[in-house]
């Protein structure tokens, strides 16, 4: 039976097909877990990029075809010939003693689009392996299921799980380079977050069938190009902290149903697409102002860092700017001006035009001192550029 909240989420999304959680929305969950707008858009499977574009803030996350091609080519190369290159790095670089290895692509089951069938097949195969019948098998594209905010989500299967010495390991294949043993920490972090979601989902699967969750390692294997070549190399990444953080985040996140309850009955992010047209020709028919007004009714927690993660960030930044919110300036300034929310208020206190409330008096004194210093300097040297 479907809980009623599913109906509300479907209504929020409207006519568009449901999008599942992906690397970016998981990273956003980790980076800004308390943002209501993001939580609702993700939980309802709404197309954030299309919504942002329609209300005038096209998302900046286009992917270069070069990066795309490179990623695919590298992954294909690593997996070629029954994952020959993958096995080579596991054996040579990571010094793993692997027996004869089988390769099983779980993507080839059930046909595209039928996630339930694919998930059933993944479950069946992985449980069988967990019982000991599948040692040394590489499972490509396992489709797993994760609970996010009380709602189920399928995880995009673009990695490999394998089992050795009675433990499952998650293998991530990425096309950013490992140069002299180091890789871009932001990229490693994103990859680890994604893998952590898999670890949690795989553990949940085992737990659900009464098996030991310790059988899933929280060390992931990252496979990436070595230095400036196309040859793969591998490194272990310790994901314990991120698995713990994400686990806690998933368990503590407000239940989406609580958030939904606070929304006006008629609120929807529907783009009103004409689904009878081919996908490429579908254009939103809903008036942009109407959609913008709907989005604006949901509170967002903007941080400059969102610009790296969230499709809605430019919309949220515009709102923060319009309110003269100090969120625009980022955490360093916020930290210094704790308790003061807007530029207007900060300057009002600094210039003595606003009377500080009791708890603002310290801050006001510090601001007035700083303003006095700046005035003296500006007088002597000129201020603006």
């Amino acid at each position: 039976m479907k809980p009623p909240v599913d109906g509300r989420l479907d209504a929020l999304r409207g006519s568009s097909p449901r999008l599942s959680y992906n690397a970016r929305s998981l990273a956003a969950l980790e980076n800004n877990p308390r943002c209501t707008l993001r939580a609702l858009l993700d939980a309802s499977g709404s197309d954030k990029a299309a919504i942002a574009a329609h209300i005038g803030y096209p998302s900046p996350f286009g992917q270069s075809s070069f990066a795309f091609a490179r990623g695919n080519a590298f992954e294909a190369m690593v997996k070629d010939n029954g994952c020959a290159e993958l096995l080579r790095v596991l054996r040579e670089t990571l010094k793993l003693t692997l027996p004869e290895v089988a390769y099983l692509d779980l993507n080839e089951v059930g046909g595209a689009g039928d996630n339930d069938a694919r998930h059933r097949r993944t479950t069946e195969v992985l449980l069988e392996a967990a019982r000991g019948n599948g040692e040394g098998t590489l499972f490509d594209h396992p489709l797993l299921h994760l609970q996010v905010g009380g709602e189920g989500a399928f995880l995009e299967p673009d990695l490999v799980a394998f089992r050795i010495d009675g433990r499952f390991y998650i293998v991530e294949i990425k096309s950013f380079p490992i140069i002299d043993g180091q890789a871009d920490p932001a990229q490693v972090r994103a990859a680890t977050t994604q893998a952590s979601a898999y670890i949690i989902a795989l553990r949940a699967l085992l737990a659900h069938h009464g098996m030991d969750t310790g059988a899933v390692s929280d060390t992931i294997v990252l496979v990436a190009p070595k230095d400036f070549t196309n040859r793969p190399t591998a490194a272990f990444v310790d994901a314990r902290k991120q698995v713990a953080a994400l686990t806690r985040q998933l368990s503590r996140i407000e239940r989406v149903s609580d958030l939904v309850d606070l929304l006006p009955e008629d609120l929807t992010f529907d783009l009103d697409l004409d689904l009878t047209l081919p996908k490429k020709e579908q254009r939103p028919r809903r008036p942009a102002e109407e959609l913008a007004a709907a989005v604006a009714r949901v509170p967002a927690t903007y941080r400059p860092d969102c610009l790296n993660h969230c499709e809605m960030a430019f919309h949220c930044r515009a709102h923060a700017r319009a309110e003269a919110s100090l969120d625009v300036l980022g955490p360093a300034v916020r930290e210094q001006l704790g308790g003061i929310d807007t530029a207007t208020m900060a300057l009002g206190l600094a210039r003595g035009q606003l009377t500080p409330t009791g708890d603002q008096s310290d801050m006001a004194a510090a601001l007035r001192h700083a303003a006095r210093l700046r005035d003296e300097l500006t007088e002597a040297y000129g201020g603006a550029a």
């Binding site: 070069f66 140069i179 230095d227 400036f228 070549t229 400059p304 300036l329 300097l377 040297y381």
Partner: protein, 502 residues
Amino acid sequence: MSMLSALAHVEAMQNMTAVRLTAFRHHRLSDRPLVIIPLTMAGEAGAPLAVMAGTARRDMTLLVVPQPRNRDQRFAFAADLGRVVMDYIDSYRQDRRGEGERSQYTDVPQIIVPNQGGVNALADLGRMCRFRSTTGPYAVPEVVPEFGMWLTFLVDTAEMAGTSMLLPLTALLTEHWATGQSTLEDQNLASLMAWIAPPRGVSIAQALEEAENPDVCPPAGPSTSPEFDNRDLAPAIKRFDTAHALGDPHTLAAAQTELTELIAGQVKPTWRLMWAAISILRSIPKAPQTARRLDRDCRLFTNHSDYRDAGGLPQRKRDTAISAARRLSQLERALADFEAAMAFDDPFVLADRRSGGEAFTGTVVESQPNRTAITAKNTTVPRPRVTVRTSDPLRLAAGTKLISPTMPKGHKAVIVSVLPDGDTTLVTVEVTAGMGRGRTPKAGSVPDLDKDIDYLPDPGWRPNPTFPDSDHTPWTHSADPDGPDDSAVPENAAAEEWGHDN
């Protein structure tokens, strides 16, 4: 961040204009900097796509790798760029001054890139080139490894505070100006320049919007915009590849010209912006101690130059235990010295420290200019005391050693007591140095009554740490102390595997 800088950012945001943070420019700007804009190909490991380089606004060279995935083209490009950069560097390896140990070059090269990403791209390029062999199966031109070693040297110096041989322009600009946007957005040169100097007749708000539109302001690199990649670059590279395969020189030349023009269109707006920024930066007076830092740059440059002349090996892939420890100590010292020098030279920076209670300015309200003390060696020395009234939120404790930019060189003092007095604070300091050799302080060496005076903590002198010899890594820092040190040149230097071509 201090309260003062935070306030500056808030002012900038509210008034929609950049606000200055310093009175001076604390980095040296060369009269003839080599501006380099590196572009890389998305998704490839440090694959150069193009570079625009030149020492004057109207004198630029554009080098393009038509097919960045092709190894030969990559190193042909590296050689071309290497020659440009080495000609520039060599022009600074002419004039030396001083004898023997002290002999050093009198000026240093200066490479300016748009942003930190530009520094990283040069680091990758340096790493890619410096181990290459000029003989054997994958031989590269002579200049390639040399260029790689010099790039690596420059990238290494860029980590050291106050050096100016390789500088990201955004860092120079944000040192002097506060904008009404976040640190993250300040990394975008066009956004930053929109705050500081929007195009004539364009409002800052509009300039900001344009700065984020890749069709108006293409990214300053090293990444190109995905739209450009997909819409323009990918088809152009494809046409080049086809022409290359057909072997028809006319089609090939046409395809190459088309590519070059496409990329020129992407990089030129940044080129113009960089020179505009450099010209604005030139108009800011340079801080007094910039000269001292140039001297250190000359020393570093001379050392590396002599090492290269002696045919030294390329820098290792990663630091050894001892070189890492030595470098850490150099970096820490450089940072502490640079911060102290900035505060000493620049009233804005001093004010920053004052607002955080780490320095103070006040008026002398009491003075005992003739006070003396008897030292352990039983000699009488002048130890005048003065009391300064300040309204700064001072947090320095008694015993803190001080220096003062408002007193003659060599002046040193130590805090004796700090007493709150109403809204102000009375700080009594004892002058300990800078008074001459006599029993009475020389004229002007003790602050007079009613004089306004600045004090900040003395960064002090620290001994140079002594580490074991580099060929004797002790047992705590090496797995096998008796074994030979790992070789400086990786064995695959000649031919790092390229892997499958795709």
